[in-house]
Amino acid sequence: MKQIQRLLLLLTTAATLSACVTAPKPLYYHGEQAEAVYSYLKADDLSISEQILLMEQTMQNASSTGLPLAPGFHAHLGMLYFESGNTSGGIEQFEVEKSLFPESSKYLDYLLAQLQGSDAK
Protein backbone atom coordinates (compact mmCIF):
# COMPACT_ATOMS: atom_id res chain seq x y z
CA MET A 1 0.00 0.00 0.00
CA LYS A 2 2.78 2.37 1.00
CA GLN A 3 4.61 1.60 -2.20
CA ILE A 4 1.60 2.45 -4.32
CA GLN A 5 1.21 5.72 -2.46
CA ARG A 6 4.83 6.53 -3.04
CA LEU A 7 4.56 5.71 -6.72
CA LEU A 8 1.50 7.91 -7.04
CA LEU A 9 3.30 10.76 -5.32
CA LEU A 10 6.25 10.37 -7.65
CA LEU A 11 4.07 10.31 -10.71
CA THR A 12 2.13 13.37 -9.61
CA THR A 13 5.33 15.26 -8.88
CA ALA A 14 6.79 14.30 -12.22
CA ALA A 15 3.63 15.33 -14.03
CA THR A 16 3.51 18.67 -12.23
CA LEU A 17 7.16 19.42 -12.85
CA SER A 18 7.08 18.47 -16.51
CA ALA A 19 3.98 20.60 -16.99
CA CYS A 20 5.97 23.54 -15.71
CA VAL A 21 8.90 23.20 -18.07
CA THR A 22 7.39 22.04 -21.36
CA ALA A 23 7.26 25.20 -23.39
CA PRO A 24 6.09 24.16 -26.87
CA LYS A 25 8.95 23.95 -29.33
CA PRO A 26 8.70 26.85 -31.77
CA LEU A 27 7.93 26.06 -35.41
CA TYR A 28 10.19 28.84 -36.70
CA TYR A 29 13.16 31.02 -35.95
CA HIS A 30 11.91 34.61 -35.83
CA GLY A 31 15.08 36.44 -34.83
CA GLU A 32 14.82 40.13 -35.69
CA GLN A 33 12.11 39.74 -38.34
CA ALA A 34 9.58 41.81 -36.35
CA GLU A 35 12.17 44.55 -35.70
CA ALA A 36 13.01 44.68 -39.39
CA VAL A 37 9.34 44.91 -40.38
CA TYR A 38 8.75 47.60 -37.73
CA SER A 39 11.64 49.73 -38.90
CA TYR A 40 10.52 49.35 -42.51
CA LEU A 41 7.00 50.50 -41.65
CA LYS A 42 8.23 53.43 -39.53
CA ALA A 43 10.73 54.33 -42.25
CA ASP A 44 12.64 56.76 -40.07
CA ASP A 45 15.40 55.08 -38.09
CA LEU A 46 17.12 52.47 -40.25
CA SER A 47 18.26 52.71 -43.84
CA ILE A 48 17.28 49.94 -46.27
CA SER A 49 20.82 48.54 -46.14
CA GLU A 50 20.73 48.43 -42.34
CA GLN A 51 17.40 46.62 -42.53
CA ILE A 52 18.93 44.12 -44.98
CA LEU A 53 21.77 43.58 -42.51
CA LEU A 54 19.27 42.86 -39.76
CA MET A 55 17.48 40.30 -41.95
CA GLU A 56 20.68 38.63 -43.17
CA GLN A 57 21.90 38.36 -39.58
CA THR A 58 18.62 36.67 -38.66
CA MET A 59 19.07 34.26 -41.57
CA GLN A 60 22.55 33.35 -40.30
CA ASN A 61 21.35 32.85 -36.74
CA ALA A 62 18.49 30.66 -37.96
CA SER A 63 20.83 28.18 -39.60
CA SER A 64 22.62 27.59 -36.29
CA THR A 65 19.32 26.84 -34.52
CA GLY A 66 18.18 24.35 -37.16
CA LEU A 67 14.73 25.98 -37.21
CA PRO A 68 13.24 27.21 -40.49
CA LEU A 69 12.63 30.91 -41.06
CA ALA A 70 9.09 32.11 -40.49
CA PRO A 71 6.42 32.87 -43.11
CA GLY A 72 7.05 36.20 -44.80
CA PHE A 73 10.77 36.28 -44.03
CA HIS A 74 12.03 35.59 -47.55
CA ALA A 75 9.35 37.77 -49.12
CA HIS A 76 10.30 40.70 -46.88
CA LEU A 77 14.01 40.28 -47.56
CA GLY A 78 13.17 40.04 -51.27
CA MET A 79 11.30 43.34 -51.11
CA LEU A 80 14.29 45.00 -49.40
CA TYR A 81 16.57 43.63 -52.15
CA PHE A 82 14.22 45.03 -54.80
CA GLU A 83 14.24 48.42 -53.11
CA SER A 84 18.02 48.44 -52.91
CA GLY A 85 18.23 47.73 -56.66
CA ASN A 86 19.18 44.07 -56.32
CA THR A 87 16.47 42.69 -58.62
CA SER A 88 17.90 39.19 -59.05
CA GLY A 89 18.25 38.84 -55.26
CA GLY A 90 14.68 40.00 -54.86
CA ILE A 91 13.31 37.51 -57.38
CA GLU A 92 15.35 34.72 -55.76
CA GLN A 93 13.92 35.44 -52.30
CA PHE A 94 10.37 35.63 -53.66
CA GLU A 95 10.87 32.22 -55.27
CA VAL A 96 12.15 30.77 -51.98
CA GLU A 97 9.07 32.10 -50.18
CA LYS A 98 6.80 30.57 -52.82
CA SER A 99 8.45 27.16 -52.67
CA LEU A 100 8.43 27.06 -48.84
CA PHE A 101 4.92 28.47 -48.61
CA PRO A 102 2.82 27.84 -51.74
CA GLU A 103 0.02 29.79 -49.99
CA SER A 104 1.90 32.95 -51.04
CA SER A 105 2.22 32.05 -54.75
CA LYS A 106 -0.77 33.92 -56.11
CA TYR A 107 0.10 37.17 -54.34
CA LEU A 108 3.84 37.08 -55.03
CA ASP A 109 3.25 36.25 -58.69
CA TYR A 110 0.93 39.26 -58.86
CA LEU A 111 3.70 41.44 -57.37
CA LEU A 112 6.35 40.03 -59.70
CA ALA A 113 4.11 40.68 -62.69
CA GLN A 114 3.64 44.27 -61.51
CA LEU A 115 7.41 44.72 -61.15
CA GLN A 116 8.06 43.38 -64.62
CA GLY A 117 5.30 45.58 -65.96
CA SER A 118 6.91 48.68 -64.46
CA ASP A 119 10.33 47.64 -65.86
CA ALA A 120 8.93 47.32 -69.36
CA LYS A 121 7.51 50.83 -69.31
Binding site: L27, A34, E50, N61, A70, P71, M79, S104
Partner: protein, 225 residues
Protein backbone atom coordinates in the same frame (compact mmCIF):
# COMPACT_ATOMS: atom_id res chain seq x y z
CA UNK B 1 -23.42 19.04 11.91
CA UNK B 2 -21.10 17.25 9.56
CA UNK B 3 -23.49 17.94 6.69
CA UNK B 4 -23.43 21.64 7.47
CA UNK B 5 -19.63 21.60 7.47
CA UNK B 6 -19.62 19.82 4.12
CA UNK B 7 -22.13 22.29 2.67
CA UNK B 8 -19.97 25.22 3.73
CA UNK B 9 -16.94 23.57 2.18
CA UNK B 10 -18.71 22.94 -1.11
CA UNK B 11 -20.17 26.42 -1.33
CA UNK B 12 -16.83 27.92 -0.38
CA UNK B 13 -15.08 26.01 -3.11
CA UNK B 14 -17.73 26.98 -5.61
CA UNK B 15 -17.37 30.65 -4.76
CA UNK B 16 -13.58 30.54 -4.86
CA UNK B 17 -13.42 28.71 -8.16
CA UNK B 18 -16.07 31.07 -9.48
CA UNK B 19 -13.70 33.94 -8.86
CA UNK B 20 -11.03 32.51 -11.09
CA UNK B 21 -13.14 30.88 -13.78
CA UNK B 22 -12.08 32.03 -17.25
CA UNK B 23 -14.40 33.82 -19.68
CA UNK B 24 -16.72 31.56 -21.70
CA UNK B 25 -14.92 29.37 -24.18
CA UNK B 26 -15.13 30.53 -27.78
CA UNK B 27 -17.31 28.43 -30.07
CA UNK B 28 -14.87 27.24 -32.73
CA UNK B 29 -17.33 25.20 -34.79
CA UNK B 30 -17.39 27.58 -37.76
CA UNK B 31 -13.62 28.14 -37.61
CA UNK B 32 -13.01 24.39 -37.60
CA UNK B 33 -15.41 23.84 -40.47
CA UNK B 34 -13.82 26.61 -42.61
CA UNK B 35 -10.36 25.10 -42.00
CA UNK B 36 -8.30 28.09 -43.25
CA UNK B 37 -4.61 27.80 -44.13
CA UNK B 38 -3.52 31.41 -44.42
CA UNK B 39 -4.05 34.85 -42.87
CA UNK B 40 -3.53 38.30 -44.36
CA UNK B 41 -3.20 40.95 -41.62
CA UNK B 42 -4.83 44.28 -42.42
CA UNK B 43 -3.39 47.51 -40.97
CA UNK B 44 -4.98 47.86 -37.50
CA UNK B 45 -7.42 50.66 -36.67
CA UNK B 46 -5.65 52.72 -34.04
CA UNK B 47 -7.78 54.27 -31.29
CA UNK B 48 -4.76 55.12 -29.12
CA UNK B 49 -2.90 58.41 -29.00
CA UNK B 50 0.34 56.79 -30.15
CA UNK B 51 1.09 57.24 -33.86
CA UNK B 52 3.46 54.24 -34.11
CA UNK B 53 0.97 51.86 -32.44
CA UNK B 54 -0.35 50.52 -35.75
CA UNK B 55 3.11 49.74 -37.09
CA UNK B 56 4.24 48.24 -33.80
CA UNK B 57 1.25 45.94 -33.35
CA UNK B 58 1.31 44.96 -37.02
CA UNK B 59 4.94 43.92 -36.98
CA UNK B 60 4.46 41.83 -33.83
CA UNK B 61 1.41 39.98 -35.10
CA UNK B 62 2.98 37.59 -37.61
CA UNK B 63 4.86 35.44 -35.08
CA UNK B 64 1.88 34.20 -33.00
CA UNK B 65 -0.20 33.51 -36.15
CA UNK B 66 2.64 31.59 -37.82
CA UNK B 67 3.48 29.70 -34.64
CA UNK B 68 -0.15 28.60 -34.45
CA UNK B 69 0.37 26.89 -37.80
CA UNK B 70 -0.96 29.32 -40.42
CA UNK B 71 0.76 31.03 -43.31
CA UNK B 72 0.98 34.75 -42.50
CA UNK B 73 1.28 37.03 -45.49
CA UNK B 74 4.33 39.36 -45.41
CA UNK B 75 3.11 42.24 -43.23
CA UNK B 76 5.03 45.17 -44.72
CA UNK B 77 4.53 44.13 -48.35
CA UNK B 78 0.78 43.80 -47.80
CA UNK B 79 0.78 47.29 -46.28
CA UNK B 80 2.65 48.61 -49.34
CA UNK B 81 0.06 47.05 -51.65
CA UNK B 82 -2.71 48.93 -49.85
CA UNK B 83 -0.73 52.18 -49.95
CA UNK B 84 -0.01 51.78 -53.66
CA UNK B 85 -3.74 51.45 -54.21
CA UNK B 86 -4.46 54.68 -52.39
CA UNK B 87 -5.51 53.02 -49.12
CA UNK B 88 -3.33 54.78 -46.55
CA UNK B 89 -5.89 54.82 -43.71
CA UNK B 90 -6.68 51.62 -41.82
CA UNK B 91 -10.40 52.42 -41.72
CA UNK B 92 -10.47 52.49 -45.52
CA UNK B 93 -8.65 49.16 -45.74
CA UNK B 94 -11.15 47.58 -43.34
CA UNK B 95 -13.95 48.78 -45.63
CA UNK B 96 -12.60 46.96 -48.71
CA UNK B 97 -15.02 44.16 -49.75
CA UNK B 98 -13.70 40.76 -48.65
CA UNK B 99 -14.06 39.40 -52.18
CA UNK B 100 -11.57 42.01 -53.40
CA UNK B 101 -9.05 41.00 -50.70
CA UNK B 102 -9.43 37.37 -51.71
CA UNK B 103 -8.85 38.29 -55.33
CA UNK B 104 -5.57 40.13 -54.66
CA UNK B 105 -3.99 38.02 -51.91
CA UNK B 106 -5.55 34.61 -52.38
CA UNK B 107 -5.62 34.38 -48.58
CA UNK B 108 -8.22 32.18 -46.89
CA UNK B 109 -8.78 34.71 -44.11
CA UNK B 110 -8.08 38.31 -43.11
CA UNK B 111 -7.35 39.57 -39.61
CA UNK B 112 -9.08 42.84 -38.72
CA UNK B 113 -7.46 44.39 -35.65
CA UNK B 114 -8.28 47.39 -33.48
CA UNK B 115 -5.86 48.91 -30.98
CA UNK B 116 -7.76 50.24 -27.96
CA UNK B 117 -4.77 51.23 -25.82
CA UNK B 118 -1.12 51.67 -26.57
CA UNK B 119 1.42 53.34 -24.33
CA UNK B 120 1.23 55.17 -21.06
CA UNK B 121 -0.82 58.26 -21.79
CA UNK B 122 -3.99 57.22 -20.01
CA UNK B 123 -2.41 55.61 -16.91
CA UNK B 124 -2.54 58.07 -14.05
CA UNK B 125 -0.97 56.26 -11.12
CA UNK B 126 2.00 54.61 -12.77
CA UNK B 127 4.17 54.71 -15.84
CA UNK B 128 3.27 51.23 -16.97
CA UNK B 129 3.03 50.63 -20.67
CA UNK B 130 -0.26 48.96 -21.58
CA UNK B 131 -1.33 47.52 -24.92
CA UNK B 132 -4.92 46.41 -25.57
CA UNK B 133 -5.88 44.86 -28.89
CA UNK B 134 -8.96 43.20 -30.28
CA UNK B 135 -9.25 41.23 -33.50
CA UNK B 136 -11.59 39.27 -35.69
CA UNK B 137 -10.74 36.67 -38.29
CA UNK B 138 -12.92 36.82 -41.40
CA UNK B 139 -13.18 34.08 -44.00
CA UNK B 140 -12.43 35.75 -47.34
CA UNK B 141 -14.23 33.00 -49.23
CA UNK B 142 -17.57 33.55 -47.45
CA UNK B 143 -17.28 36.79 -45.43
CA UNK B 144 -18.13 34.88 -42.24
CA UNK B 145 -16.48 35.86 -38.93
CA UNK B 146 -14.63 32.72 -37.82
CA UNK B 147 -13.15 33.97 -34.56
CA UNK B 148 -12.77 37.05 -32.38
CA UNK B 149 -10.97 37.93 -29.20
CA UNK B 150 -9.40 40.76 -27.20
CA UNK B 151 -6.31 40.88 -24.99
CA UNK B 152 -4.28 43.23 -22.83
CA UNK B 153 -0.66 43.18 -21.71
CA UNK B 154 1.14 45.52 -19.34
CA UNK B 155 4.78 46.22 -18.56
CA UNK B 156 3.87 45.78 -14.89
CA UNK B 157 3.52 42.02 -15.48
CA UNK B 158 6.98 41.56 -16.89
CA UNK B 159 8.96 43.45 -14.29
CA UNK B 160 11.70 41.32 -12.75
CA UNK B 161 11.23 38.66 -15.37
CA UNK B 162 14.66 38.49 -16.92
CA UNK B 163 15.57 36.19 -19.77
CA UNK B 164 13.36 33.78 -21.67
CA UNK B 165 10.20 34.57 -23.56
CA UNK B 166 9.76 37.25 -26.09
CA UNK B 167 11.67 39.91 -24.19
CA UNK B 168 14.59 37.53 -23.83
CA UNK B 169 14.53 36.87 -27.53
CA UNK B 170 15.00 40.55 -28.21
CA UNK B 171 18.24 40.66 -26.29
CA UNK B 172 19.99 37.68 -27.82
CA UNK B 173 21.00 39.39 -31.03
CA UNK B 174 24.43 40.08 -32.33
CA UNK B 175 23.06 43.27 -33.77
CA UNK B 176 21.94 44.66 -30.46
CA UNK B 177 23.09 48.15 -31.20
CA UNK B 178 20.86 48.50 -34.21
CA UNK B 179 17.92 47.09 -32.30
CA UNK B 180 18.33 49.58 -29.47
CA UNK B 181 17.45 52.34 -31.88
CA UNK B 182 14.41 50.52 -33.22
CA UNK B 183 12.46 49.01 -30.35
CA UNK B 184 10.50 50.79 -27.70
CA UNK B 185 8.64 49.60 -24.64
CA UNK B 186 5.29 49.46 -26.41
CA UNK B 187 6.80 47.26 -29.12
CA UNK B 188 7.80 44.67 -26.49
CA UNK B 189 4.43 44.79 -24.76
CA UNK B 190 2.60 44.55 -28.11
CA UNK B 191 4.34 41.20 -28.68
CA UNK B 192 2.93 39.87 -25.42
CA UNK B 193 -0.57 41.25 -26.07
CA UNK B 194 -0.60 39.73 -29.57
CA UNK B 195 0.60 36.33 -28.35
CA UNK B 196 -2.10 36.35 -25.69
CA UNK B 197 -4.69 37.38 -28.26
CA UNK B 198 -3.83 34.99 -31.07
CA UNK B 199 -1.56 32.10 -30.15
CA UNK B 200 -3.31 28.75 -30.29
CA UNK B 201 -1.72 27.98 -26.90
CA UNK B 202 -3.58 30.95 -25.35
CA UNK B 203 -7.07 30.69 -23.89
CA UNK B 204 -9.57 31.50 -26.68
CA UNK B 205 -6.71 32.06 -29.14
CA UNK B 206 -6.69 30.79 -32.73
CA UNK B 207 -7.08 27.11 -33.55
CA UNK B 208 -3.99 25.15 -34.59
CA UNK B 209 -3.39 25.67 -38.30
CA UNK B 210 -2.33 23.04 -40.85
CA UNK B 211 1.39 23.76 -40.34
CA UNK B 212 1.23 22.97 -36.63
CA UNK B 213 1.98 19.45 -35.37
CA UNK B 214 -1.12 19.92 -33.18
CA UNK B 215 -3.37 20.63 -36.19
CA UNK B 216 -6.87 19.33 -35.52
CA UNK B 217 -6.34 18.94 -31.78
CA UNK B 218 -8.60 20.82 -29.35
CA UNK B 219 -7.27 24.13 -28.02
CA UNK B 220 -7.11 25.18 -24.35
CA UNK B 221 -10.62 26.55 -23.92
CA UNK B 222 -12.18 23.56 -25.70
CA UNK B 223 -10.46 21.16 -23.31
CA UNK B 224 -11.86 23.00 -20.29
CA UNK B 225 -15.44 22.75 -21.47
Amino acid sequence: MKTLYLAIMVIGTAILSGCVSPPPAYDYSEFRLADPKSVVVLPPINNSQEVVAGYSVMSQVAAPISESGFYTFPIAIVNETFKNNGLTVANDVHAVPYQKLYEIFGADTALYMTIENYGTSYVIVSSDTVVTVSAKLVDLRSGAVLWQNAATASSAETRGNSGGGLIGMLVEAAVNQIIETVVDRGFDIAAIANARLLNAESYNGLLYGPRSPKYGQPVVSEKQK
